[in-house]
């Protein structure tokens, strides 16, 4: 039953979203693993579309925060407003009270506002005037940031980067894909036509199943090996944190779940490792001068880690 739904989700995402298939799948993994996604891309490649399609497939409500330098924390979390009729302060929901949120251009707003969103992501609740309000479930933030412009931006600090499970980038579509996009556009196919595949309430059930996916000792030590190697790597300022390891485990479980297996294989870990780790690692100035690439180094590290097979 789950398999059908997963396959349905995949096909819907594929039908309406034009771009790399792996991006859609990774988004799904993050959803099931209970993580958030950071999209780093040039404008106009379909970040919003992707988020909307996902929300449509799983019948979640969709919210969008367009960050600007003058966005305030209250706009995100909501604020207390004086009600003239009752004479009391009333809580008015902020933009964050949605199940799927697109936080557009997150690096354009002030660190304070960024922090308010990231706190909500971490805690699963917001506090306004001493009262806490739980966020809806499932709750997923798809933040975007623009890699081209640096002027007038507030880059996310490392500690906050760590809160995103994956950083994905869609990139420009291939030739066939782009033609398909044009045809869809001409035939008037829009995001509003997305068919729902499952209900929002089913997602937490799936997430629980993901948490129960089995990891053998060998695979755990494989994951730990990868993390250890990032710490030994000289081109990185610091290695991956334990939180990164937990994220990698969960992502691996979700990947195994999507593939319809009840145990994690090293292949699952391999498939998600780069996307889970690359935004958490910073290159040293020397490595930057040498024009090294984090993804390439990670690819090498993953090949170096000992696969748990004795032969």
């Amino acid at each position: 039953m789950d398999n059908e739904k997963i396959a349905g989700l995949k096909s819907q995402l594929h039908e309406y979203f034009v771009g790399k298939e792996s991006v859609a799948e990774n988004l799904l993994i993050c959803l099931l693993a209970g993580g958030h996604v950071l999209m780093e891309d040039v404008p106009g490649v379909g970040k919003t579309t992707l988020a909307r399609i996902l929300a449509g497939c799983i019948e979640c409500d969709f919210g969008r925060i367009q960050f600007t330098p003058d966005t305030l924390p209250g706009d995100v979390t909501g604020s207390s407003v004086y009600n003239m009729k009752t004479g009391e302060f009333e809580y008015r929901q902020g933009a964050v009270m949605h199940q799927i949120i697109l936080a557009d251009e997150i690096n354009r707003t002030s660190p304070r506002t960024q922090a308010s969103l990231l706190e909500a992501m971490a805690e699963g609740q917001v506090s306004v005037d001493g009262k806490t309000y739980p966020l809806p479930r499932p709750f997923m933030v798809i933040a975007t940031q623009n890699p081209v412009e640096f002027l007038g931006t507030y880059p996310l600090p490392e500690a906050q980067m760590d809160r995103f499970m994956m950083r994905l980038s869609i990139g420009y579509p291939e030739k066939d894909e782009e033609i398909r996009l044009a045809k869809n556009f001409l035939s008037g196919k829009t995001v509003a036509d997305v068919k729902s595949v499952c209900r929002a309430e089913e997602i937490p059930v799936m997430m629980e199943k993901v948490e129960k996916i089995h990891l053998s000792d060998g695979v755990i030590s494989y994951i730990r090996d990868i993390i250890k190697l990032t710490r030994d790597e000289k081109s990185f300022v610091a290695g991956a944190s334990p939180r990164a390891m937990l994220a990698l485990i969960r992502a691996g479980q979700a990947k195994a779940y999507i593939n319809g297996r009840d145990f994690v294989k090293p292949d699952d870990v391999k498939a998600v490792a780069v996307n889970v780790l690359h935004h958490r690692l910073n290159l040293t100035p020397e490595a930057k001068i040498r024009k090294e690439d984090t993804d390439k180094i990670l690819g090498r590290i993953i090949l170096e880690a000992k696969i748990p097979v004795d032969s």
Binding site: S216, V219, F263, K265, L303, A305, I307, V309
Partner: protein, 747 residues
């Protein structure tokens, strides 16, 4: 691998030092390469036992054992025990190698042992540097390397505190450079005294010179004598001895010098019962004249085979910590070249004295005749000495390149003999008891030399001691002394026995003299070190027409320095040899090939038996291994057994050229294998054939899933493996499939 190299780093220096030092004392075959090879193989066996994992570690020791066993078995029936006895050195090598291996491991494992060994080596090196003998270059280099290893290890240990933990790996990676350093030390052309730290030496020399000078001031009088003998007398001539042990000379010589060299220093003629003195102090060429006389005597007696009687040896001498005015040289001197003109050389009464004082750095060269006087056949010569006529003498002079107008004429020779009888044969009377004893000894003897040989034997049966006590006051003449030694004391050291021998020889009417010098055993590597403890005294007897012959009456000292005579042809030597060979060729062509055949069969036996034993061992090993594997496999739980089969399958795929590369997961491997094996050649394969790779998927389940139904999978896996075998025999041929079956193991 790291652990292996780490052990090797410490075991190897210990091994090299132990083997190279102890080999000198062992009775090893002349080709020492065999010994080193044996030692290395044993070391390799020990390492194999310690460092190879699993059952394979028994292979090398087993093969070695079989080889040794086979070599013993190959020997002829009667000779086997003899062969074992002859090669007893092997056991010693085994013992030393294993001991040095154990010691090396202890040093590698325990820090305390390592430090203790390092300090010991350091102490020995410093001691040898200061006191000598200097160790040879290889040994110094190895010892130095060992010290550097230990220092590096200690430094690494202190680094460990800073969190860098791969100590052993670091040492292993640093060692190539250290070894390079050692190699450079070993290979760089060193100055004459490579490890001679001059400033240390100079300081030590100053101090010891001061001590010696002070000692001389106290014991003034016999300054030179103490220097010559290396041991000092307590006041009187025949008192107790204490032995000093210092290197005083270094000798280097050709290969034929034999086992021992007697270096004469002082030659004495006059004995008053308590002390030897030298009266023959006029300058002459007695030493050379003696050599010419011997040469001429042999020339007359047996010209063709003169090399059976003596060999001419070249000798280089260098003085170390030595303070003397004497040159030490073997008797039968044919050539003598002092190192510098300033030092000069004066021969008087066969002694060679320098014009100045000699000491550290004095060098000189000489040639002498090494005599075969201990050989039984040589004795015949001493029985049949004929007087030398002028013609023969001139011929001898000419052959040895001595012109008669420089003091080597026949007249000089006659004067030489006169001098000998004058100085070395004073009127000597023994007591009656001693006379009787001598008479008894000479009963039935054919010649005087035979009596001397008997006397030599008798004295050699007495007791040797360095502490015979003071000579009693009552002894006042040579006769008293002989009685005292022969009938009363019957113990003493070389001086006692040489003196007794000389006196008794003189009483028989033979000129004889007392010689002091050094007895140098030629063992170990050149240059041979002459130590002051080698000082010695012996007797020489003059045989008219032959020259001075050396006797060694001291008990406990006997070196067989002789060599065998060449076999004599009864008649005309060379010619008859050629004739008999020709005969063989013409008349009896058959025996030659027969002999070769015999040799061949023996050789075959020698190769086949050890090889057969080794093959037998390997076969037994493989069979036992297989049987053990089967049993273990049956005891395993199903999941593990299935995993074993899967690993087996992957090894079989490697035979097809599909080796799992590093960092490749099983799934990636399976996809790649299926692509390369079934798709790339463009041929359509049936699904059944492709299915033989399914076991990899099952293996993933076994490895990563929570509970895999391994029992059910087992049959499927086996089926797949059969499929892989089919694939191998199809692609690589049946032979390969068979070899894969034999060569790969289930584990």
């Amino acid at each position: 691998m790291t652990a292996f190299f780490y052990d090797l780093i410490f075991v190897l220096p210990v091994f090299v030092l132990a083997i190279s030092n102890i080999m000198v004392y062992l009775d090893v075959p002349e080709n020492t390469k065999i010994c080193y090879a044996a030692a290395l193989i044993i070391l390799a066996c020990a390492f194999s036992l310690k460092h190879i994992k699993g059952r394979l570690k028994f292979i090398l020791p087993g093969v070695t054992f079989m080889l040794v066993f086979g070599i013993i078995l190959v020997q002829e029936n009667g000779m086997r025990m003899q062969f074992v006895a002859d090669n007893f050195w092997f056991l010693w090598i085994l013992l030393i190698t294993l001991a040095s291996f154990a010691a090396g491991l202890m040093i590698a494992e325990s820090r305390k042992c390592r430090l203790a060994a390092a300090f010991f080596v350091l102490a020995v090196m410093i001691y040898l540097m200061v006191r000598g003998p200097l160790p040879d270059k290889l040994q110094s280099a190895v010892a130095f390397l060992f010290l550097v290893f230990v220092v590096a290890d200690e430094v690494q240990r202190s680094w460990e505190k800073s969190g860098y933990t791969e100590r052993k790996g670091h040492i292993v990676s640093v060692v190539p450079f250290i070894i390079l350093l050692g190699l450079i030390i070993y290979l760089v052309p060193a100055p004459e005294k490579p490890y001679d730290w001059n400033f240390v030496k100079v300081i030590m020399k100053r101090i010891s010179d001061g001590v010696k000078y002070a000692g001389r001031m106290i014991n003034s009088g016999k300054e030179d004598y103490a220097g010559v003998m290396g041991f000092k007398e307590n006041g009187t001539y025949f008192g107790n001895l204490y032995v000093e042990d210092e290197t005083i000379m270094r000798l280097s010589t050709g290969s034929n010098a034999g086992r021992v060299i007697y270096l004469s220093g002082r030659i004495m003629d006059d004995f008053d019962g308590r002390e030897w003195k030298n009266l023959n102090i006029q300058e002459n060429h007695d030493n050379i004249l003696d050599a010419i006389e011997t040469y001429t005597a042999v020339d007359i007696y047996d010209r063709k085979n003169n090399f059976d009687y003596y060999k001419r040896i070249d000798l280089n001498v260098e003085y170390d910590e030595f303070n003397t005015s004497y040159y030490f040289a073997p008797s039968k001197l044919v050539r003598f070249t002092p190192g510098s003109e300033k030092e000069g050389a004066v021969i008087s009464g066969s002694e060679i004295k320098a014009l100045t004082h000699l000491g550290y750095g004095t060098k000189y060269e000489l040639s002498y005749f090494r005599m075969n006087s201990q050989n039984k056949d040589f004795r015949l010569l001493t029985y049949n000495v004929t007087p030398i006529d002028r013609e023969s003498w001139d011929r001898g002079c000419y052959a040895l390149n001595y012109k008669d107008d420089h003091g080597y004429s026949y007249e000089d020779y006659q004067a030489h003999i006169e001098r000998i009888y004058e100085y070395y044969l004073p009127d000597t009377q023994l007591s009656e008891k001693a006379e009787e004893y001598l008479e008894k000894l000479s009963e039935g003897a054919e010649s005087d030399t035979e009596v001397l040989e008997r006397l030599d034997k008798v004295l050699s049966g007495f007791k040797y001691t360095l502490n015979p006590g003071e000579l009693p006051e009552k002894i006042k003449s040579p006769a008293d002394f002989v009685d005292y030694i022969l009938f009363e004391k019957q113990e003493g050291y070389c001086t006692h026995y040489a003196t007794t021998f000389v006196i008794m020889a003189r009483s028989m009417g033979l000129p004889a003299r007392f010689v002091q010098g050094f007895l140098v055993p030629l063992t170990g590597r050149q240059p041979y070190h002459v130590r002051s403890s080698m000082s010695h005294a012996w007797a020489e007897v003059y045989i008219d027409g032959l020259g001075w012959i050396q006797y060694e009456p001291t008990p406990g000292i006997s070196y067989d320095n002789s060599w065998n005579f060449m076999p004599r042809n009864t008649e005309d030597g060379e010619k008859s040899g050629i004739v008999s060979e020709e005969k063989n060729h013409e008349d009896e062509p058959l025996p030659v090939p027969e002999l070769e055949d015999e040799n061949k069969t023996v050789n075959w036996r020698g190769i086949l038996i050890p090889a057969g034993l080794i093959a037998l061992f390997l076969l037994g090993f493989i069979l036992a291994d297989r049987a053990l594997q089967r049993r273990r496999l049956q005891k395993m739980k199903p999941a593990r057994r299935a995993a074993v089969y899967c690993r087996y399958g992957i090894r079989l795929l490697a035979v097809l050229g599909m080796k799992r590369s590093k960092g490749e997961t099983l799934e990636e491997y399976r996809i790649r294998a299926s692509k390369e094996l079934f798709e790339d050649d463009g041929y359509e394969y049936e699904e059944e054939e492709k299915a033989c790779l399914n076991f990899i998927e099952l293996y993933e389940n076994i490895l990563y899933a929570k509970e895999a139904p391994a029992g059910e999978m087992l049959d499927e896996i086996r089926e797949d493996i059969t499929g892989v075998f089919a694939l191998i025999s199809e692609r690589k041929g049946r032979l390969m499939a068979f070899l894969a079956k034999v060569g790969t193991t289930l584990n």
